[in-house]
């Protein structure tokens, strides 16, 4: 439910959440980004960081410079303009994935799941290729970044067809690095070996987290994904996987990133 007006909630004395809704919807994510853009245009003194997630904008601030109430007043003054922001800058990032790769298969088996992709195909009444076609056949909107360094959560822009995945009943103790995974319709990513509960789709040869900022795509920061990006997945085979992986390790891989815009009207009927 979209709130009549965003609710401002304290997160201790050094942060606040400006919450636009309690749901995950593209139009609510847009509103969060619209507020972020409006704040950045004239960033109030004392604001240290803006953290957009699906349905709220987190603001970290120094309360010895600006108080919660002063910051709240600034945000209230920006709210009337949010409705009009219906086109946002949005890059398209291409992510090659070796679907149903041997690492995912081994990881699923270790967790008592005989065949991860067969399972997803079965519960969605399709084939393994059907799951891959669905995942590669649409753009995915990044509506949150975080949990771990470089992890993201995306929702499909085109929801005319639906593939969903339940989370593991018992979370895994470990998942290999660079696994792309699915829960509900949310695609996410494990940048390094870590516990997790999402279903495993495949492995990408790309680094999406580079703390040393060695690769040129990371010139502006250690994490590639930004809220408001669109991801496009491309299915690759073992040979292609190994070729790209070698280039990434050498630091010579050219990430495919196109600048662009995303119009809310293209995906959500005007209300």
């Amino acid at each position: 439910m979209l709130y009549d007006r965003p609710v401002h909630r304290p997160i201790g004395e050094i942060a606040m959440a400006v919450e636009v809704s309690d749901e995950l919807r593209l139009e609510h994510s847009f509103r969060v980004l619209a507020l972020k853009q409006a704040l950045e245009a004239d960033l109030p003194k004392g604001v240290r960081e803006l953290i957009p997630t699906h349905r709220a904008l987190g603001i970290v601030f120094d309360p010895l410079v600006i108080s919660f109430i002063e910051l709240s007043d600034v945000i209230r003054s920006l709210e009337p303009a949010l409705d009009r922001l219906r086109t946002l800058p949005s890059r398209v990032v291409e992510i090659p994935v070796w679907y149903d790769d041997p690492w995912s298969q081994a990881c699923a088996r270790e967790n008592g799941v005989k065949d991860n992709m067969e399972f997803l195909a079965e519960i969605n009444h399709t084939t393994v290729q059907g799951v891959i076609d669905w995942h590669t056949g649409r753009q995915h909107w990044v509506s949150a970044v975080g949990f771990q360094p470089g992890t993201y959560q995306t929702i499909p822009l085109d929801t005319s067809e639906v593939i969903t995945a339940p989370k593991y009943e018992r979370p895994r103790k470990s998942t290999p690095a660079r696994i792309v995974c699915l829960a509900g319709m949310i695609t996410s990513f494990y940048p390094f070996e870590s516990p997790g509960g999402y279903q495993l789709l495949g492995r990408t040869p790309l680094e999406l987290y580079d703390p040393d900022q060695r690769l040129s795509a990371f010139r502006d920061g250690p994490v590639l994904s930004k809220v408001g990006d669109r991801h496009r997945y491309v299915s690759i085979d073992e040979i292609e996987y190994r070729r790209i992986r070698t280039e990434v390790e050498r630091g010579s891989y050219d990430y495919r990133i196109e600048p662009g815009e995303c119009r809310l009207e293209d995906w959500v009927r005007a209300t």
Partner: protein, 338 residues
């Protein structure tokens, strides 16, 4: 050729890591500050040896000099140059070549002498500052070790026997001996009280459960590390949720559509065992957060040991800001010259 100044680790019984006040403005990328869990104690130790203590975790602009965080004590090392060190935080026996030395006081250590720190008493983390500071390369603006992401510090990991940890050259001028008198040191022993600001999702809990949260004497469980600490006590319950949220956020009554988790946030998965977030917190999560520790008391959380009794005390926003102002006032921990 003169070897670069360093300390050589002879023994590390527990988890010893290189820490400063951590990274800032990277939570949007999923990168928490890391840094000293008891940042106030590290700041004091740095002050005692004449280092930059930095300003503050998360909202600051200076991470200050890097020192050592020693979980539960148990560390010995040798500096390869003359050094001034200070030991703060949890109480422990300190010795330089078998001669006892005091905590919360600057200590002259000649090159080649052995510094040993015994097991900690009453609290969890001992801090060591060395004049000049530790000189590992900063990663993303800080030397802090983020153990889970293998970031910063020495190869992103805890120190081991035989490690050679580079030091800054150190200030050539003679530093007068300094100490912090006992009445001005933080009280680092149980029972503990942790200040919280209620929210961001206290409204999802029943009001009786919010009362229970504040009235209970909780016990810290053994599931406690730099990422977060769990507490044992009564179950908490949630208000009824509309059906669309059950579909969107998940079937557990504590589930919300993921939002930002932050420094000191207290989430309560399934209403059981509240988890207070530490310095390596996951930056988003799908569980309701009943309250958030005031930032200066995250330092205190870093000193609590499993089994200790803890109460959560409600602070108004104004009181929390006043506490922050008092803690960051340099006079509050300016050491005296002996």
């Amino acid at each position: 050729m003169t070897p670069l100044p360093s300390i050589v680790v002879l023994k590390s019984a527990g988890q010893t890591t290189i820490q400063d006040l951590g990274r800032t403005s990277l939570v949007k990328d999923g990168i928490p500050p890391a840094g000293a869990f008891d940042a106030l104690s590290l700041k004091i130790a740095n002050k005692l040896v004449g280092n930059d203590p930095g300003d503050w975790m998360v909202i600051g602009s200076r991470p200050g000099a890097a020192g050592l965080e020693v979980l539960m004590g148990g560390l010995s090392f040798v500096p390869t140059r003359n050094a001034v060190i200070a030991v703060s935080g949890a109480e422990a026996d300190v010795a330089v070549d078998d001669a006892p030395a005091e905590m919360w006081k600057s200590i002259q250590v000649p090159a080649g002498a052995r510094v040993s720190i015994g097991p900690s008493r009453h609290a969890a983390r001992v801090y060591v500052a060395i004049d000049g500071g530790i000189n590992v390369p900063p990663v993303l603006g800080s030397r802090a070790t983020h153990v889970r992401a293998r970031l910063g510090g020495l190869g992103g990991r805890a120190l081991r026997q035989g490690d050679v940890v580079p030091l800054e050259p150190g200030d050539p001028h003679d530093l007068p001996d300094r100490w912090l008198s006992p009445d001005r040191r933080p009280k680092l022993s149980p029972p503990w009280a942790l200040g919280v600001v209620l929210g961001p999702q206290d409204y999802l809990f029943t009001s009786a459960s919010v009362d229970t949260f504040l009235a209970t004497e909780w016990k810290m469980s053994h599931v406690a590390d730099r990422m977060g600490c769990r507490f044992l006590g009564p179950p908490l319950s949630f208000r009824e949720r509309p059906d669309y949220l059950i579909a969107q956020a998940g079937s557990d009554p504590s589930n919300i559509v993921d939002d930002m988790t932050h420094f000191g946030g207290i989430q309560v998965p399934s209403g059981l065992e509240p988890i207070a977030m530490g310095v390596e917190f996951p930056s988003i999560g799908g569980y309701a957060k009943i309250a958030t520790l005031i930032s200066t008391h995250v330092s205190r959380l870093g000193q609590i040991r499993p089994g200790d009794s803890v109460r959560f005390v409600s602070y108004s926003l104004e009181a929390a800001v006043a506490e922050l102002r008092a803690c960051l006032e340099p006079a509050s921990f300016e050491p005296a010259v002996v």
